[in-house]
Symmetry: D2
Subunit: 299 residues, 4 copies
């Protein structure tokens, strides 16, 4: 297996060493773009890509994503950040800079349904998800060998009504603050609030319906019952409200009266896979900003 199932871990490409992405949210006002681009230019950075969006021009919010190159980024980043504080303060910015050479670390939670995990691993292996998969955590042992064949640690934390508290505690220990993003790849358990808080806007769930329709555990049965002509899936950040967090991506597929619940599930699996993988990719590429309960996605 090892021969074929090469890892998806990508080497840092030369240009990535000097490239970074900056995400900014702040109240809108005059001069923001000028201040930021001037700042970067004066610090020797070259803007490779930039996107901005103003939500509600009159007194609204400003969002920006900038990808830039800076020679000897590692050496200069600390001072760049320190110098930027003035501008950030002036415009009341929430901001962050991410280096491309620091691959994000992912933890994937999965239950019995394996299609989303398989898709993520396949895309990762094909070089399409440029991140490090640090661990897979599951309440079932089924995928252990498969996951480990990629060289990824697999943690089996069985969940029963009695051991639930214990399992959650163990998961918190395993994950700790070791990762940058948690992916619930059809993990059919409730995520403990103790995990949500430190990973605010960094836990992506795939819900197997076109939210806000069909919240909860049996969306395909509900969709069949209601007789909808299109089904969908939704990737969203996890909040304390069940299936209520900021939506990142959705997609749909046409169905007909001929499709029973099992057929809806089958069709849905491909939508789920694709939608989750897109959301994860965008998060990894720092394309998503969250404001209140919505996302701005620069893609």
């Amino acid at each position: 297996m090892e021969m074929y199932l090469k890892t998806g871990r990508q080497p840092v490409k030369p240009y990535e060493n000097n490239r970074a992405r900056m995400l900014i949210s702040c109240p809108d006002g005059p001069g923001i773009v000028a201040a930021v681009s001037r700042f970067l230019h004066e610090h020797g950075a070259n803007i490779v890509q930039s996107d901005q969006y103003t939500m509600d021009p009159e007194g609204g919010m400003f969002f920006m994503r900038i990808e830039f190159d800076l020679e000897e980024l590692d050496t200069h980043l600390a001072s760049l950040k320190a110098d930027f504080a003035d501008i950030a303060d002036k415009f009341e910015m929430q901001w962050n800079i991410y280096q491309l050479s620091r691959k994000k670390k992912l933890a994937i939670f999965v239950s019995k349904e394996d299609h989303c995990l398989v898709e993520l691993l396949w895309q990762w292996q094909a070089g399409d998800l440029d991140a490090e998969i640090s661990m897979v955590i599951s309440n079932h042992p089924d995928m252990k060998e498969y996951v480990e064949s990629f060289g990824i640690p697999y943690y089996h934390t069985p969940v029963t009504p009695e051991t639930k508290q214990e399992a959650v505690q163990k998961q918190l220990e395993i994950v700790g603050d070791k990762v940058d993003l948690i992916i619930l790849a059809r993990y059919m358990q409730i995520v403990p609030p103790a995990l949500i808080e430190p990973y605010r806007n960094r836990i992506i769930n795939i819900h197997h319906s076109f939210l806000p329709a069909f919240v909860g555990g049996k969306p395909y049965a509900q969709a069949y019952e209601r007789g909808v002509k299109i089904i969908g899936a939704t990737a969203h950040y996890v909040t304390e409200e069940l299936d209520g967090g900021p939506i990142i991506e959705q997609d749909v597929q046409r169905v007909s009266h001929r499709d029973d619940v099992n057929e809806l599930k089958r069709i849905g699996r491909t939508i789920e896979r694709v939608v989750l993988a897109r959301a994860v990719k965008w998060h990894i590429e720092d394309r998503i900003l969250v404001h209140q309960n919505k996302t701005v996605v620069f893609n």
Copy 2:
């Protein structure tokens, strides 16, 4: 205007004189297709098109749509129907035969938003909706001249809190049992139960959301608030439950964080137009069977 705005009333084409469509629903069981096709064959009818569907093979429901030609249909239809009663009884069928030469009569209800009405009239005029538009009823006078320029009677029944009861009464009188299908083309008033009962499964409403998400009067505002990435529209038969009737057709369009409520409305108008027109076309062509709260659409 008359010169250009020719009517959409299509002449009966020669082949339509001898063509009919049969819709059948019954509990599933052996021998139905054989019995029906044999019956038609022995009565000299030639099946041009046939679709069938069995919902849940084990002890479920059987649905069938047959399009057939029969020489001198007008003369033979009564006896054909009488003869069919035996088979229908045996299999406990609900059934109907529709002659293509008897164009369905439509009543269109509309409020201020004109896009769905304009679309229906344009498709009708282009020859794509093979029916007779018997009347347009509105609580506003705005579209009167436009509608009348097509040679279609326009009834203005103003609705105010005080005159509501009176308006409903007047509408009931105007429509009576004169039409075969009522279309609510963004008619923003509640339809009286006195109209629903006699027109069971013969009133099509277009709801401006992807049901069951965003029931009620402000779906685009709700969609914006929730931050969905796809919006939609739903054509359904009207029942006593608001936006809860059998869904005929749905379609969607991708949106982004850049689209505010007005932009969602603008994008939505085209989805609404297209979805409503499809549902009306299918009803006119006898492609829809209703079972419980779902539709079987043979298209």
Copy 3:
């Protein structure tokens, strides 16, 4: 008719008086964004929206669209442009500034098929196409009364093999340099080179296929013949090469073996309408930049 069919001519909204859009293309290089945003900031302009894109980061092309507000724009625009010349020269920019208060003038060419024209007029009337429709030109008289009922001049220039040269000459005179954009709304005649040259990247054609498949005059017949499962339409700028110009927008619809050529045409009409209207809207909103034979669309 006049009562209902109000014009789609929108009044200039107060904010539009001081708003402009700037489109820039130039070879990529460091400092462009900084230079442009600094320039605008120092001239008192506030950037409302900005998009940029670099094609092929290594030694490629840079494209930018900026929407900005400037007090008393009318008074200051000339000097703003003059001052910008330095930056433009330095970066070898092709650039333009468009005031929102100067609505673009459109000429629509149409033949017998009216659906694209009707859609454009309906969207215009609904306030979705913020432009002035200066004229409609046709080789048929059919739509004259309809178009004139919107208060739009209609020019009938019959085209026969004998009068072709004369008709073209007349069209050139009618259009002259009076408009900003020419729309071929299913105008089934070849456009003379004498019109293409002065209106380079300002003539939009709707082709009734998913280009580059099915170039030429009978795309639906070709699509039927080839047995495709999806049909489409393409809006593109007109060049000297038939159906070969830069593609602005495409969309598609699923079809099946049940759809004959006429049904393909019927389904296609709605795709054509929607695709053309989108392309026109984007052009009107200065969202399209052309480079070689491709478009960059900031939408």
Copy 4:
């Protein structure tokens, strides 16, 4: 690995032992449906599902797919077929009966690109492709271990300019007449005519473009060059004409100027996977009839 990577080989379900599917093509004429359904009824068969389609009602072709149950099918099938010959002769039918208990045997050809193969194996393993994968044949050794971990024989037949003839000969021997369907899962070599003839309408290729656009070996480069706004993939039966055989299924995805050739390839891979898997599923389920160079797909 074996623990997790269970085979996708499905046991024959009890109801499948007595179920069969019948595919019929013939010139249209009166009484076909009646004759067939009467025949089946009189032979004790119960029709579970039936679809029919008449191409061009006036003097056209008739297509039918019937799924039926017959007690002790194995015992009665031979006589059923013999008895049906009369009807078949009378209506000049091309016809076939497929037992559900006889799973179709597949051979998959693959080159270096593994995504289509991985998708087929995953869907097979998930129970969505109800067939037997008899072998995988490749001109590369890369996937050997992976494929064999599913218990599927893997044949490596290297192809070089010198060994080409030899490789083809070896492939012909390996495949022989041992399989029911050959799948070219991004097999980038030309299939020898000696294989096409015996497997007429039983070789499915996935072409990585929206045919008939971009025939040949570099469709994504061509799509990028042409600046299309939507890319697609096409599954078709292989004929002697390159990329010219009957189209089974197509699907598309929106792209933008931001997507370079590599990004088009990445997006395209998911379209290819999904489209090929759908076509294979339909073939396995006997849903496809071929007439001239087109398919009738009952799905």
